[in-house]
Structure formats: C-alpha cells, structure tokens
C-alpha cells in the first residue's frame, strides 16, 4: 500500500525512509484521517517530510502522483501582471475557425516552455507570446481551441487549485550540498579543550587531595568547565569572482560562528594588502591596517583564508598590482607578513580542484601558502584542519628551548 507514492517521493529526491512510510501506514490504520485527500496531504507531509525546505519538493511529488496539475505549475512560474485582464478580445466564429491547433497536448506544453524561456516581457494581444487577451495558445481570457490556461480565475473545466499546487514553500527550497550540519561536524575536529572561565565543576581529584591533606575534613575544589579554546581568524575574499561562492561562504561562516567561541573575521579583496575590513558596506571608511591585525591577534590564532585566489598574477607579485588602489608593496609581501606571524594558516578555495592548474595566481598563492591550500569541501576542510593541528604540534616542539 502506497508503495508507488513512496517511490514517487524518493524519485523527487526526498530522503524518506521505510520507518516513516510504516508510520504513515500506522496513522492511516488508526484512522487519524479518513476519506479526505486534503487531510491525507497534511498527514503524509507531517510524517514523511522533516524540513520545510523540502516542502516544495513534496508538493511537486504529491501533485505528480495525484495527477492533473502540470499547467498550474507552469502558471506559477509566470509573473502575475502578464495576465492582467487588460485586453478582452472577442473573436468571431470566423476567427476561431482560422485558428489551428498546434498539435497534441505534449507538443503544446513543449512549445509553451520554449516560449516561456524566450519571453522576458509582459505581453498583451498578439498571436505568439504568452499573455492576455490574445489568440496565442498560451495565456488567459483569450481563445484558442487547444489553449493552455494560465492563472485565469472564474469557471473552468479544470478543478480548482489545490493546496499542493500553490507551491507556497518554493522559496524555502534550497539544494544544500554543503549542509551546515556537516560543515559544523567537520569544524568540530578543530577543537582544543581548555578550562577557562568561572569554576563551576567539581574537581574530584583536587577535592580528594585537599580533603586528605586536611585529615579527612571535606575540602571541596572546583574547576572551570572545559571549553573549546581554539582561536580562529577567518579572512574572506569578497566581491568579483567570489560572488559565485557566496552560498558556500555563508554556510562556512555560520557553521564556524556556532562552533568557535573565539572567532574573528575580516574581509579582503582578491589578495591581502595594507588593510582588511569588517563591514563590507563601509569598506572604505572602517578599515583595519593589516599591521594592527597582526599586533592585535596573537600567534595562537589559527588563520583561515577563504578565497578563490583567481586574479591577475600581478595582483600578487607586483607593487601597484591591486585592482582597487595603489599598493606600495606587493600582495605577496603582505601575505608573507601574515604567514610569518600566524604560523598555523590554511587557505580554503571554493574553486573545484580540477580548475586550479589553469590559473597562474592559484599556483602563486599555493607557493606562498607552502601547499596549504585546500578545496572548500567537506574533505578539503578535514584536510585543512588536520594540517592546522599538525602544524601546531610541530611548532610546539621547539618552543621549550626558546623559553
């Protein structure tokens, strides 16, 4: 029972499991809903879908399974003002006779999609484009023997638009490849626990030691709770070619903000120069000199660059190479200053690894970073974090001889 429905949902990419199908069948058996397709819709969505961003997919799958809705789906893709009743055209019988059908329904739908793709503006009258009051087979308030009706109110042979046809949840549908949760779990590996803050936890060993020192008289000892003490400094490349990766960066940023208590972030453009900034709208007024950044944040901060490193090679290698201002010193010099201070640094690059070799600037940056550039994927982040942790061990070893 409902196996076909279940398979239809899976086909639309909903990750519905067998347990949930059994739950739904259980609910039907208990008579939670009976003989009402609207209630069945609500119930099956309640049981089978676990995220509002999947609601739109569910609506489409439900519509497909319960048939007869394609034209509504198309209608909602057309801006409403194209269909305003600006022209109501009365056709004579003679005119109607002239009109010829474009072929079968499939043919009509196909042509419709093609025209929809071609057409950009609102259209009224005429006989080809989608609009109102015309004799094109597509549109409303017009006449064509085999036409497709779009967003027309009033009586019609087709049944009224159902809830799932309205597709109210379309805005919420997001095809998240780098799901926030996965990212956060990947970032978790970058944890270094330390006890800081107020002493709230009972220190059992300390208490036993102190109590025995007092000859058995209870002496409670407290210690602060363990927190993730890792400090992270994120530098984001913004603007230009990075616009394609805004989504990935947002995901990374929100995951990082949830995970790290000590998180600082700044923006730069293409390559790091004299300044970084914190508010992209006020990038020209509120700049932080890079030297101040170096002085303000200690060596214990882990530095993570996020950028596609896709630019003209001169933007890295030459003074005055920046596309935005005249830089006295080359980007490479500023990069080197940063890297000398922050020994634990990695670069995350949203460009697919396969494209890297086509860009000379990526190669240059890779050299500057001494091969610590990784792709902005789950695997890439895991590798980057391993590097960050490994480096901190390596740098920790020589430090006792210094002190």
């Amino acid at each position: 029972m409902l196996i076909e429905f279940f398979l239809c949902l899976r086909k639309h990419g909903l990750k519905t499991s067998l347990t949930e199908l059994l739950d739904l069948l259980g609910a039907l058996e208990r008579g939670v809903v009976f003989g009402n397709v609207d209630d069945f819709y609500t119930l099956s969505r309640l049981v089978l879908v676990k995220d509002e961003s999947q609601y739109d997919r569910f609506d489409r799958a439900f519509a497909e399974y319960f048939e007869g809705v394609e034209q509504v789906d198309l209608a909602s893709a057309i801006p409403a003002d194209w269909l305003e009743r600006s022209l109501q055209r009365q056709l004579s019988d003679e005119d109607k006779a002239k009109l010829q059908a474009l072929g079968g329904l499939d043919e009509l739908l196909r042509t419709f999609r093609e025209r929809l793709a071609e057409q950009q503006k609102r259209h009224a009258g005429g006989n080809k484009w989608i609009g109102t009051g015309g004799t094109s087979p597509f549109g409303a308030y017009g006449y064509h023997p085999e036409g497709i009706r779009i967003g027309q109110d009033g009586s019609n042979a087709r049944r009224a638009v159902k809830v799932w046809d309205k597709r109210e949840f379309r805005d919420l549908d997001g095809d998240a490849e780098l799901a926030n949760r996965n990212l956060q779990l990947a970032l978790r590996k970058l944890r270094k626990f330390a006890r800081t803050g107020a002493a709230e936890e009972l220190d059992l060993n300390g208490t036993i030691r102190a109590t025995s020192q007092k000859g058995g008289l209870l002496d409670l000892q407290w210690q602060p709770e363990r927190h993730n003490a890792v400090k992270v400094l994120l530098l984001f490349d913004v603007g230009g070619s990075m616009d394609d990766y805004i989504y990935e960066c947002e995901q990374l940023f929100s995951a990082a903000r949830n995970e790290f208590k000590h998180l600082e972030f700044f923006y730069f453009h293409n390559c790091v120069y004299e300044h970084v900034w914190k508010d992209n709208n006020r990038r020209y007024d509120e700049k932080l000199p890079l030297l101040e950044l170096i002085n303000r944040y200690g060596r214990d901060y882990k530095l993570i660059f996020v950028g596609d490193a896709t630019m003209g090679p001169y933007e890295i290698a030459y003074p005055g190479g920046s596309v935005e201002h005249w830089n006295e010193e080359a980007g490479a010099v500023w990069m080197q200053r940063l890297l000398n201070h922050f020994t634990d640094a990695v670069w995350l690059n949203p460009q697919p690894t396969s494209h890297w070799r086509y860009y000379q600037s990526i190669d240059l940056m890779q050299q500057l970073m001494s091969q610590r550039m990784y792709p902005l994927t789950l695997d890439g982040i895991s590798m980057a974090i391993t590097t960050l942790l490994k480096k901190s061990v390596a740098t920790a070893v020589p430090s006792p001889s210094n002190s």
């Binding site: 739950d23 939670v32 109210e168 779990l185 978790r188 209870l218």
Partner: protein, 278 residues
C-alpha cells in the same frame, strides 16, 4: 480525543491534524516556524485542553541531555558524609530526577515540552534518541530502570539555529507553522481583544500585512508583535483613520519594528510614497 481551537487559542486545521496524529501515534512532534507563531503556546494550550500537567524543559546552550534524565548530587553526599547523616548510605537520596524522568513517572499522561532544542549543543538531539524512542533509560548509580508508564506527549520546538541530525528527525513528526493568513489572524486577534472595533482591526491588519511585504526587513513583525501593537492602539485610543493616513511611520511603530535599520527603511519608503502621491 481531538485538539481544536479553544476560547483563547486558534489552531489552524493542518496544525490540529498534526497534533492529533502525533498524540494518537505517540510520536514526538517537532514544530518549526517564524518566531512568534505560537509554537510554545501550543504546548501550553494542548496541556490545558487535555487537562493534564505540562512539563517544560527549556533548553539553553549549556544544557546537557543527561540533565533531562537525572543529576547525581555528589557534593551534597560528601557534605552529608562529613556530618554523619544517615541519608548518605542510600545513593538514591542524591539522585535528582530531571524533566524527562518527571514526565515518564507522572501519574497521568503529561505533555512534555522541549523548548528551543536548537539552542543546545549539536550532539544534544542524538543523546536523546533512545530515551525519546523507547521512553526509558537506565540510572547507573542505582541500577534502576526508569520506564514511562504512559508515553508522554512530546512537543519539541526549534528556531532553526542549528540543523538537527537525520536519525533524530526520523523519529519525529514534523510540522512547519506557516504565518497565519488574514482570516486566521483576525480570529486570533478576536480571541485576545474581543471588543476591538472592526474597522480598527481591519485597517490595522492592512498596515501590518503591508509592513510584512516590505522587502529586506531585518525582522518581520509576527503575530505576537501584532497583538502587542493592537494593545497599544487600544490603550491610546487611536482612530482607524489615523492608521491609513500615510504620513511617515504608523503610530506606535516601536511595537512592530524592533530594529533601528528597519525603522529607517520604513520611514524612507513612507517618505517616497508621500512624494509620489503629492
């Protein structure tokens, strides 16, 4: 049993069905939705309409799953051992039951509200999988097995700050509370202010929905803000005509707009609209 709108709370049809299904099948119900759509209220009203106690577990960023089961107060026991109290011989005296334990052992089937589960650590839901599924857990200190006599009705709310793990979601029913439409909203307002004038309500709702339409508002006003705003309008005895006059911001805008940038944005829009019309 069936859960429907009461004198003080309006339930949309699909939400009512969701609650009934979750109650019948004894599954936890996970509710999401814009802040202010009455997720927490629902649990209170459900408990009231069933006439059962509500056990409320408010989750914070520091909450651990174990705290919901029980806590072992080692410090009191150490102190009592110093004082030579008799209680100290029974460890059960120092086990403090948590909210889940209370819910499992309640005399009648209670409503358990786990509020804002997304505030907790990312592993928190995973730690509760077995407890919510089987409704039982083990107390290591005493070797006791706590089992639910009546499976509590579990309502979980989330504001979507963190994503929840799949395994957890599979065990829940999920409902996303849509923002109510004008009709439902009018009903909700009637419930709160039965003697509000009809003309005032309709022009206030108009202003409110227009405001929600304004793109790129940082915080869209929600039902609870609307109700606060109406309270102020009634208190100040504002006339409906004053609302529709579009001279700048609506009166008492502070109740609707909680963000300085939003206030400026709306002010600017009103100014532009005025210039166009003149």
């Amino acid at each position: 049993m069936s859960f429907a709108s009461t004198e003080s709370y309006i339930v949309a049809d699909d939400l009512g069905l969701a609650v009934n299904a979750a109650v019948t099948l004894e599954k936890p119900l996970l509710l999401k939705g814009e802040p202010g759509t009455g997720k927490t209220r629902l649990a209170e009203e459900l408990a009231a309409s069933l006439g059962v106690p509500l056990i409320r577990w408010q989750i914070k960023s520091t909450t651990k799953a174990q705290q919901g089961l029980y806590e072992y107060d080692a410090v009191s026991r150490l102190r009592d051992s110093q004082l030579g109290s008799e209680k100290v011989h029974d460890i059960a005296n120092y086990i403090k039951p948590g909210k889940l334990w209370q819910a499992f052992t309640a005399a009648e089937r209670p409503v358990l509200l786990i509020d804002e589960i997304d505030k907790a650590d990312i592993e928190f839901p995973n730690d509760l999988l077995h407890e919510l599924d089987q409704m039982e857990f083990h107390v290591y200190e005493t070797g006791e097995q706590v089992r639910a006599e009546h499976r509590p009705i579990v309502i979980i709310t989330s504001n979507n700050e963190k994503e929840l793990p799949d395994a957890f979601l599979r065990r829940c029913f999920f409902h996303y509370i849509k923002f109510p439409d004008a009709d439902t909203l009018a009903k909700i307002v009637q419930v709160h202010y039965p003697d509000i004038r009809k003309d005032l309500l309709s022009s206030a709702l108009e202003v409110f929905f227009d405001l929600r339409q304004v793109p790129s508002l940082k915080k869209k006003p929600s039902t609870s803000e609307l109700i606060d705003w109406l309270k102020l309008l009634l208190a100040e005895d504002i006339k409906p005509a004053e609302l529709s006059k579009s001279n700048g911001l609506m009166p008492m805008f502070g109740a609707l707009l909680k963000n300085e940038q939003d206030v400026q944005l709306v002010e600017k829009l009103a100014f532009m609209a005025r210039r166009q019309s003149s």
